[in-house]
């Protein structure tokens, strides 16, 4: 390389870097160091692989539950309730201890896993089973002519299975500061109703209602006094379309014959829904337990809200 060095005189380092090769000894040394660095880096990645794969798996399962939640809210909650609590006469509860401790599967004589049972039921649906449950479960998977891809069915099942965690021994959601915040109900809290149910007596006098809170209760964005959302909008639309029960668009100006006032009609329709059935909706049973789930104020709020639907 001696002639190289001679030519280099008078050139700046920058010029040399751009127009010449470095001496071969320097390149050999740099190359060796670079390849050692590559081997070390790949080795380090390889050593960390088991941990990384575990994290990725947990992350993927978490995201599957997230997607399942979104699908459940759009497709399932209108019948099974926003929190899987079920709606009497429409669809059974999913979020129950019996579902996860094997009792339910034993009753059905199912010998496979709960996951398989859920996958099959969601994917293929189920015909109407008895007079208590007159509605069939729709088919959901594309494999059987439904609208969902198989991986979406799995997402929903993962979401349903996630409720089971709450029934496992030793489970407690959360740090103390969360408990102090205005907490939404967790299953534990639902057990003790700290309110006075309004009951089914339509002659009870109600306080002044607040339509805004009534709307929140109706939409399920605010929970009922018993801690769970009411889920009214799952069956009753406000825009004229028929979901399960009649739409409540214009309900305030639709007083059936024989009722003294719209207040009284709405009051009775909520706490004793079977007393008067809107023509054309015979055979559809609205749950009749709202008298136990609502206090007087909540009922008044919902009535006030419905009266705005003119």
């Amino acid at each position: 390389m001696s002639e190289n060095v001679n030519e280099s005189r008078g050139k700046t380092l920058f010029q040399r870097l751009f127009t010449e090769l470095l001496p071969i000894e320097q390149r050999a040394l740099m190359g060796t160091l670079v390849f050692i660095a590559i081997i070390l880096a790949v080795g380090w990645v390889a050593l960390n692989e088991p941990r990384r794969m575990d994290i990725y798996t947990a992350q993927y399962e978490g995201r599957s539950i997230q997607r399942g939640a979104s699908i459940f809210v759009t497709n399932c909650s209108s019948c099974h309730g926003a929190r899987g609590e079920g709606i009497a006469g429409v669809a059974p509860a999913l979020n129950t201890p019996e579902m996860f401790d094997g009792t339910h599967l034993a009753e059905l004589g199912w010998t496979g896993t709960l996951e398989d049972y859920l996958l099959l039921t969601v994917a293929a649906g189920r015909p109407a089973r008895s007079a208590d449950w007159p509605n069939p479960m729709p088919t959901w998977s594309q494999d059987y002519g439904g609208p969902m891809r198989p991986d979406e069915v799995e997402d929903v099942v993962n979401f349903i299975l996630n409720w089971g965690l709450a029934y496992e021994e030793g489970y407690a959601e959360a740090p103390a500061e969360e408990a102090a915040a205005p907490a939404a109900p967790t299953p534990e809290e639902e057990e003790a109703p700290a309110f006075e149910p309004v009951g089914t007596d339509v002659t009870v006098a109600l306080p002044e209602g607040d339509p805004a809170r009534g709307e929140a209760l109706f939409l399920g964005t605010e929970s009922a006094p018993d801690g769970a959302p009411l889920g009214c909008q799952a069956c009753h639309s406000l825009d004229g379309s028929v979901l399960v029960g009649p739409s409540l668009q214009g309900v305030a100006s639709r007083l059936p014959e024989g009722y003294e006032s719209i207040d009284l009609y709405l009051h009775e329709a909520i706490v004793a829904p079977s007393a008067y059935i809107v023509p054309g909706f015979e055979g559809i049973n609205m749950p009749d337990n709202f008298g136990e789930r609502l206090d007087a104020q909540s009922l008044a709020d919902i009535i006030a809200f419905l009266k705005t639907q003119e």
Binding site: I38, A69, S70, L165, E173, P185
Partner: protein, 539 residues
């Protein structure tokens, strides 16, 4: 009786008997080395590594005559083209990336099935269950994007130094074909993960095929490419076969031609070293010869090492190949864009007709690049004499950059501001601000954006989300309704516990309906957040 097989006739035994064990082993080793290197013995290798000058005749030229791989490289270079300038070794790097993509691609192929049913699940398996799976995928993806840049820079360099001129016109034309092959590689590979990003980016581009004039041709090309009017199982299989079979075959053939032409014509010297109209690349005077062995090869090995290390460091610390949700033909994510190297076409499309902007102009562009050296026959290569040509290239680059910017959602895309706000806080396919908040900092409660300063503790990640939310709402209140504004907007963020380890963040905005005074419009989005979904508080 004479045996046909006599152990004393074996060459090694014969040698040992003739000259002793040590000498015989050394001579045999020398033989083996000479066969493997196609002409160099141990002494030659050692003298090369010591940096000794070659003997005469130069034994280091022998492999170039005898070995297949070495005969594709010149035996010696002109000293003037061995530094970083003028080639920056970009052509060599392009070939390196071609090989790297082949190797990492083969690894990924083992774990991948080209069907709409399994492709996405296979991606998840590669990422969660295959050791080094994510590493290989990241290398493959990053390598693909880097290759597009390197190949484009290689073309740019060739243009700037006017190396495409006589006698290298055809080398340039094969280079244009290799650039198109590179883009096609990247583009077909983009679809294979079968996630939302892949599906919609490719859908945008593939819709161009349909616009090819006349309609009968467009329909035919569309069906040929996708196997059906819409992108689905048949399209995925076709893209896969293009990616792993057709394009590698075409690429290898043209790479071979391209390399052969480089040997044939030599590396063009820097423009300032040549007299006007001359090309002396093939006549290298002995005093400026730099032999490929060992000088150039050592430089190339070092260059490979440095590039590889840079890629690995990038993959470990900075880059993760994206994987969005499973492809869903029924739901288009907001702000879908083409891959970045095709953004300029998306920009063009916003300016006019699909057939003209999406098909005719890019085709004319590619064809004119292909034949450019046969029309640009001026003898000058010196920079000072090519002011127009170099200015044109700068204008072209500027135009591509501006068009690419116009291809992004920042230009001429009108969506309602409520959707924009939701998109920024919780985009359907990316992490976004809300999901990046650590799970435990999502404090359960209902918050009005107007009083977040008092209702959300500053220590919570939620506070920063609320600040951004409130600023966007303020902006939306002040924007006129005809530009997508939300008059008298009220906005809320509600956090509730949906399930064990699963919180729901509800974003709700209500505003005055500009068309029906007294009415309110509303929009709502539920964002479920699982404790394990974003382990590092984001991606």
């Amino acid at each position: 009786m004479q045996s046909n097989l006599d152990i004393r006739d074996f060459p090694l035994i014969k040698r040992i008997r003739e000259s002793g064990l040590q000498t015989a082993l050394l001579e045999t080793a020398d033989d083996v080395v000479q066969r493997v290197t196609a002409g160099l013995n141990i002494a030659d290798l050692r003298s090369m590594l010591r940096g000794d000058p070659p003997g005469r005749p130069n034994p280091r030229l022998r492999p170039h005559a005898d070995s297949f791989w070495m005969h594709m490289r010149p035996g010696y270079y002109n000293q003037a083209v061995t530094g970083l300038y003028p080639t920056f070794r970009l052509g060599f790097l392009s070939t390196f990336f071609f090989a790297l993509e082949g190797i990492t691609g083969l690894f990924l192929m083992v774990f991948y099935t080209p069907s709409t049913e399994y492709a996405y699940a296979d991606m998840l398996n590669i990422l969660s269950n295959v050791p080094l799976g994510q590493f290989m995928r990241d290398l493959h993806r990053l390598g693909a994007e880097a290759m597009v840049i390197i190949v484009a820079l290689h073309m740019l360099r060739t243009y700037i130094t006017a190396s495409y001129k006589k006698p290298r016109q055809f080398t340039w034309a094969t280079g244009i074909i290799l650039l198109i092959v590179t883009l096609a590689f990247s583009y077909t590979g983009y679809l294979l993960p079968w996630d939302q990003l892949a599906y919609w980016a490719v859908t945008i581009g593939a819709s161009m095929a349909e616009a090819a004039p006349p309609p009968v041709v467009g329909q035919f090309v569309n069906i040929l490419l996708k196997g059906a009017p819409d992108l689905g199982a048949a399209g995925l299989l076709r893209f896969y076969l293009l990616h792993v079979f057709a394009l590698p075959a075409i690429g290898t053939i043209f790479l071979g031609v391209h390399y052969y032409k480089v040997i044939l014509h030599g590396h063009s010297l820097p423009p300032e070293d040549e007299k006007v109209g001359e090309d002396t690349a093939k006549r290298v005077p002995p005093d400026v010869r730099r032999y490929y062995l060992p000088d150039i090869q050592a430089a190339e090995v070092l260059w490979v090492g440095v590039t590889m290390l840079a890629l690995i460091v990038a993959v470990i610390f900075f880059y993760d190949a994206p994987l969005e949700n499973h492809a869903n033909p029924l739901s288009t994510p907001l702000h879908t864009v083409a891959p970045w190297y095709f953004l300029w076409i998306q920009g063009l499309l916003k300016l006019g007709d699909k057939t003209l902007m999406g098909v005719i102009i890019p085709t004319i562009l590619a064809l004119s690049f292909l034949v450019m050296p046969y029309f640009d026959v001026g003898p000058f290569r010196q920079y000072g004499k090519r002011r127009i040509a170099i200015s044109l290239s700068l204008i072209f680059i500027t135009a591509i950059v501006i068009l690419s910017w116009m291809g992004t959602p920042k230009f001429l895309v009108q969506t309602s501001l409520d959707q924009e706000i939701f998109f920024e806080l919780a985009p359907s396919e990316k992490v976004g601000l809300v999901r990046a908040v650590p799970y435990d900092e999502l404090i359960i409660g209902a918050y009005n954006v107007d009083d977040y300063e008092t209702s959300v503790p500053r220590s919570s990640g939620l506070w920063r989300v609320m600040r951004r939310y409130s600023r966007m709402i303020e902006h939306a209140r002040q924007t006129p309704p005809e530009q997508g504004g939300l008059p008298n907007a009220e906005a809320f963020l509600i956090v509730e516990q949906l399930q064990p380890n699963l919180k729901g963040v509800i974003l709700r905005i209500t505003w005055d309906d500009p068309d029906n005074p007294g009415e309110r419009l509303s929009a709502e989005l539920l964002v479920p957040v699982h404790r394990d979904a974003y382990p590092l508080g984001g991606e």
